[in-house]
Amino acid sequence: MDKKQRRELIAKRVAKELKDGDVVNLGIGMPTMVADFIPEDVEVILQSENGFVNLGPAPEPGQEDPDIVNAGAAPVTIKPGGAFFDSAESFAIIRGGHVAATVLGALEVDEKGNLANWMIPGKMVPGMGGAMDLVTGAKRCIVAMEHTAKGGAHKILKECTLPLTGRGVVDLIVTEMGVIEVTDKGLVLKEIGPGFTVEDVQNATGAELIIDENLKEMEV
């Protein structure tokens, strides 16, 4: 798989986690791609933390409205039935548990469900934006990322080393190598990515994996 294929695989698998009627916030980057793979018969309401629900796809070129952008400032649309609101209301929705799921990338995630994705001290400090609110407030937090960093460095760890975005917040990790659930007992490998062995996944992971007794091929 090349990078594009890996990312599509991950986005497709995450899309299957979303249920009809769910209010979902997708992070910028790969998580945004998830929207492209939601089945026709599943109505997911996308929330954009800069202030609206029913986020739609990018407009046709020339049809951009400078006042309708996503949380990454890219031009988007609003679908019928949507609503705009201010930032206090937007985060009342997020913090108040009115978002069924948030999908975010990660720099590191660990077996306690801790998540680090907002800064690398001394190097990259973009700020947490709405990420801390989202991982704390959303009912379900799904990490969507490539399994390892450049050079194969582990991103799924026994314990995060970078400053946390949230403590014990992650529910599910979806990578090109598999689907991992965060449980009280540790990380449970539920599904395995196409072409990988359990050994491959364990070797690419910095924490011990519990292999689910019903381990399946990744459903995409």
Partner: protein, 217 residues
């Protein structure tokens, strides 16, 4: 009472060393004409409270480039590399705040609350220096209100009494900032007579707004 004034009048209200709230999310919903005026005026040592510093050539980013900001309170600076550079080299003090906490702190400032308890930031460096309280077995951070000397807003439409209507996702932080500053200035695209805005459609009541100025549009 007609609250429409000139851009010059507005700029006179913003002076060196002040704490200024500026609306907008990555430049969308930021009063660009007022920001350009502040750049031209060369006002400095500002404490700016805003969601982000947009881009180097847009919105609050322009005040960063000109080094007019002494302290920044924001949730995100990643789209303007110069902000990070100034922070890392100690030229500008930057306080990063979770976006929802920032919005709520500004609201609390305007609503006369002494603070609020949020679960956001528990277990992270956001905890540092803050009081923690347990309510019904759950841990919360006590976050304090934010206020400013001046708030600079962008709205689509105003009537002469200062009632405001925002446009789409350009609303963002503007309504809270309208409540939390001693002096509130809104840059608007359109000014209509009193009575032309349906009282049910008002997004920011005119009682919060001291001055309105026309934007470039």
């Amino acid at each position: 009472m007609d609250k429409e004034k000139s851009l010059k009048d507005a700029l006179e209200k913003v002076n060196d060393g002040m704490t200024v709230m500026i609306g907008g999310f990555l430049g969308v919903g930021t009063p660009e004409a007022i920001v350009d005026g502040l750049v031209e005026k060369g006002v400095k040592d500002l404490t700016v409270i805003a969601n982000d510093t947009a881009f180097p050539d847009k919105g609050i980013g322009k005040l960063i480039i000109k080094k007019q900001i002494k302290k920044l309170i924001a949730s995100h600076i990643g789209t303007n590399p110069e902000t990070g550079r100034q922070m890392n080299e100690g030229e500008t003090e930057v306080e990063l705040v979770p976006q929802g906490t920032l919005a709520e702190s500004i609201r609390a400032g305007g609503a006369g609350l002494g603070g609020f308890l949020t679960p956001v930031g528990i277990g992270t460096i956001v905890e540092q220096g803050k009081k923690k309280l347990e309510v019904n077995g759950k841990e919360y951070l006590l976050e304090l209100p934010l206020k400013a000397d001046v708030a600079l807003l962008k709205a689509k439409k105003a009537d002469r009494a200062g009632n405001l209507i925002y446009s789409k996702s350009a609303r963002n932080f503007n309504p809270m900032m309208a409540t939390a500053a001693d002096f509130v200035i809104a840059e608007v695209d359109e000014i209509v007579e009193i009575g032309e805005i349906d009282p049910d459609a008002v997004m920011t009541p005119g009682i919060y707004v001291d001055m309105i100025v026309r934007g470039d549009k």
